[in-house]
């Protein structure tokens, strides 16, 4: 039972997680090796199994540490596995967004990666999209939007609102960035 659960977890399509994080996650799983005390039914109904697990594993010496670890693992498992979403790019250079008009398809979730090529930070902000994201100098940030109906949503850089401005146009059909 334990092995089957572990295998299912191992081959789960965790596409929403970056590669580095997947590695860390797998190493963490290997370290704890999903023993009996990780199963919720054992934690609730079989405290003896919990005690024995604590006793035989030096790493899980303290119950608080054990429970914390368990909660962490269940939290990760509870997170949804999102399907791959189309990716669009925005670039900030000289306090200007490029392209200033980004076209994305309607009724579809998209990922917008914002690259800041300036030496100063910027904050991507859109009131109508309810999005706000700080991007450090020479760095990138990710914002997901949608699915949304066709329309236009203005965005701006909060630190330079006079120059860093743009609009996201949501088209009825799939389109590429200008």
């Amino acid at each position: 039972m334990r092995k089957v659960f572990a295998l299912q977890l191992w081959h789960r399509p965790m596409r929403w997680m970056p590669d580095g994080l997947i590695s860390v996650f797998r190493i963490a799983l290997r370290a704890i090796s999903l023993p009996k005390f990780m199963l919720l039914k054992n934690i609730i109904f079989k405290p003896a199994a919990l005690k024995s697990a604590v006793a035989i594993r030096p790493a899980s010496k303290y119950p608080s540490q054990l429970l914390g670890r368990t909660a962490f693992a269940y939290l990760w498992l509870a997170l949804p596995c999102a399907a791959a979403v189309p990716e669009y790019q925005l670039v900030i250079q000289d306090h200007l967004f490029s392209p200033s008009q980004l076209q994305i398809p309607a009724n579809q979730k998209v990922k917008i990666v914002i690259y800041n090529h300036d030496d100063s930070p910027e904050e991507f902000e859109s009131f109508s999209l309810n999005r706000e994201k700080v991007i450090l100098p020479r760095s990138k940030g990710v914002v997901f939007i949608g699915p949304l109906p066709p329309g236009e949503h203005a965005f701006f850089g909060e630190y330079n609102p006079d120059t860093a401005k743009g609009v996201i146009v949501i088209r009825p059909e799939a389109g590429d960035a200008d």
Binding site: L21, S120, F144
Partner: protein
């Protein structure tokens, strides 16, 4: 530059100042200890964030800051709930922990908003003229924010005479606001599903207007809230309000005590006057 700085400071500071006002009103007898703990925790948090900001921002595929901010918002709400549950003004062993809980709530919000301001202040190389404008804008922003906070403090103080649950509701609204904003951050990072948009109140209150900014600072107002955000807001509101039963009991007891003292005083005055008349 000047107007942008004023708006930025006001937007970042107002949520923190509103929470600080509510907590100061609540913890008036021990306000020095509370303020000292808040300032210390805020400074430590800001120094740590400033120091580790590049590493945090680049972790988790560029979503590190979002995870940090969402955690801070969650911590803020949790700390308010714990403090309300324990009630720092009761003479019991939990008082110090509860005051620390309030300080932690204020500091976690200050850390989020303060880190943005620190970035804006120290992330740019400016000329002397620009620096003067930014400084003036910062002073104006802080001044307007403080004015709103002081006004709210006195209004709340008056309202509490007639409606003992006012502070409890305000704390519940502020805690629900933090959860709602934290949810919005997780939604934009695609870590939780948003659900459908419930309504569009853009025509009534624009988020960019003064009222919109104030309502966003107070209750996380958004013209187009998602189902998950709204659900989290309502659930947190009810949960935190129910945690504040001791606070309401204490407010009622204080009012009853003051009314009794005033009546007694008036009674003594009457009897004294009668005595003088005879």
């Amino acid at each position: 530059m000047l107007i942008n700085t004023v708006v930025l400071f006001l937007r970042e500071l107002l949520p923190f100042l509103l929470l600080l006002t509510a907590l100061l009103l609540w913890l008036r007898p021990v306000w020095q200890r509370f303020l000292l703990a808040t300032v210390l925790l805020t400074v430590v948090a800001l120094v740590l964030i400033r120091w580790l900001l590049p590493q945090i921002a680049n972790s988790a595929d560029g979503l590190g800051l979002e995870l940090l901010y969402a955690s801070c918002y969650g911590l803020c709400c949790l700390a308010i709930a714990v403090a309300l549950w324990l009630n720092p003004l009761q003479p019991q062993q939990y008082a110090v922990g509860s005051i620390l809980g309030c300080a932690l709530a204020a500091a976690s919000l200050a850390a989020i908003n303060g880190s943005n301001l620190v970035l804006y202040f120290f992330g740019y190389q400016r000329s002397d003229a620009e620096l003067a404008n930014v400084g003036l804008g910062a002073v104006l922003g802080v001044g307007i924010g403080l004015s709103v906070a002081v006004l709210l403090y006195h209004v709340l103080q008056e309202i509490r005479w007639y409606w003992t649950a006012a502070l409890s509701w305000l704390l519940a609204i502020l805690a629900a606001r933090q959860v709602s904003v934290g949810c919005a951050i997780l939604i934009q990072s695609d870590l939780i599903p948003a659900g459908p948009v419930l309504w569009n109140s853009h025509g009534w209150v624009d988020e960019r207007s003064e009222y919109g900014h104030f309502l966003h600072a107070l209750m996380g107002y958004e013209a187009t809230p998602s189902a998950l955000q709204f659900t989290c807001f309502v659930l947190t509101l009810l949960l935190i309000y129910s945690c504040g039963f001791r606070l309401r009991h204490q407010a009622r007891a204080t009012r009853a005590h003051l009314i009794a003292a005033t009546t007694l005083d008036a009674g003594h005055g009457v009897s004294r006057r009668q005595g003088e008349g005879q």
